[in-house]
Amino acid sequence: MNAPTQEESAQSLPAIAVRQVLKTFVGKHEVKALEAVDLSVAPREFVSILGPSGCGKSTLLRIVAGLTPYEGGEVRVQERLVKGPGPEIGVVFQSSNMLPWLTVAQNMRLGTQLRGLPADTIKPKLAALTETLGLKGFENHHPHQLSGGMRQRAAIGQILALDPQILLMDEPFGALDALTRDRLNVELLRIWQELRQTVLLVTHSIAEAVFLSDRVVVMSGRPGRIVKEISIDLPRPRRPEDIKSHPRYGEYIAELSRLMGVFNDEH
């Protein structure tokens, strides 16, 4: 287990605390999206929510982000009772959300402008992010001129420029091919190793969840609830070639596959 994370979670208050949260979508048919969900994420912890589509994992993330109202229970992010989006949170969505009429550089700057962050301190940070994310030379391109993977890098850059203490990611690589996805996973981990935000990631990829996370939370649907939490006790920094040959890696994959009701992992 990751020693500093453990210590900190024992000492400090959770970065994200979800308590007994209920969510029902009312429409033609009432759908119980979440039923009494409890989830706690420690500062600097990387937690993935894993579950089949329609299990409410995205709903849970959106509730934490302050984008979806919830009925029962309580959600706190760094002590703040969540009633709407907050400045300490950055959300990366599956769709890169680049504005087609802006260049890559303008798109990356957009979030900081909307949040009213001072331009002079942002400038060097954006330059560094452009470098780190391999977007150098593409600053003046428009999003439609880039590949899906590049667009998603820019989207991550836009959010990291905000310097969020809490990073929420809703299947950020879900629309990408497996190869690009693996590569971006490695990059995300490398960046996270440096910045160490609290991360809550929603995914339906078992391998992705195991590779990235300190802890994997498994959800099942209708109504959405958490069925299992598994701590991923693999050494960091993680490199794919080391991790995939680690004896416990296979065990985690197997256990999560069983919980998810699949017997073959996608890799």
Partner: protein, 247 residues
Amino acid sequence: MKRVLETVIFWGLLAALWEFGVGWLGIRRYLLPPLSAVLGAGWEARETLLAETWVTLLEVLAGFGLAVVGGVLLGVLIHLSPLARRTLYPLITALQSMPKIALAPLMIVWFGYGFASKLASTFLFAFFPVVVATLGGMANVPIHLDEHFKALGARPWDRFWRLQVPAALPAFVDGIKIAMPLAVIGAIVGEFIGAEQGLGHLMTLATANAQTDLMFAAILVITALAVFLYWGVERLAKAVWWRGISF
């Protein structure tokens, strides 16, 4: 080069068909004069034609400008205000459903024989597509971008200028492309009903004097003017280059 040749041949054939077709078919000159007669009459009356074109051009541009500004303001108002959507929008739709040509005489009664009535008539013809295009465009913000802006804590003002307006522009430029030819029609109709100047007025005069060749010359000039203005709007619309790029 091949394209140019195609164009020249096509229009050349069309002109030849007109020029010689009327003779072969024995169509009388006061019904359809040959092209050369039309061009001759136009050349002879070139100073008048130019002056009248200038008058009509100003009417079209002013009326079109008013239609764009007014149409956008109305569209934004209807989009933002549920009250306006319930009251103004049905009124505008009803107005649009009326044959506007029937309103043109009223414009003369209200605003006189001069520029103002042409402005009003041009506006009436052209503003509706701008309203509809603005409304459609404003509603065109993809839901995922809306959420993204919300998550970024965007203020309503920022959302409007940085997201909604640019997202609305592709629909808007389609709207003004429709509005431009309608503006030309509006100005000409206004001049038909009652005017002392303009290409439409020249046409009614020529018709009354049985100068069919001059009337056709005026029609050719009007057509050229409309095509030129449409081309201008299309050039302008190219500035919204992200039209057709999905977000």
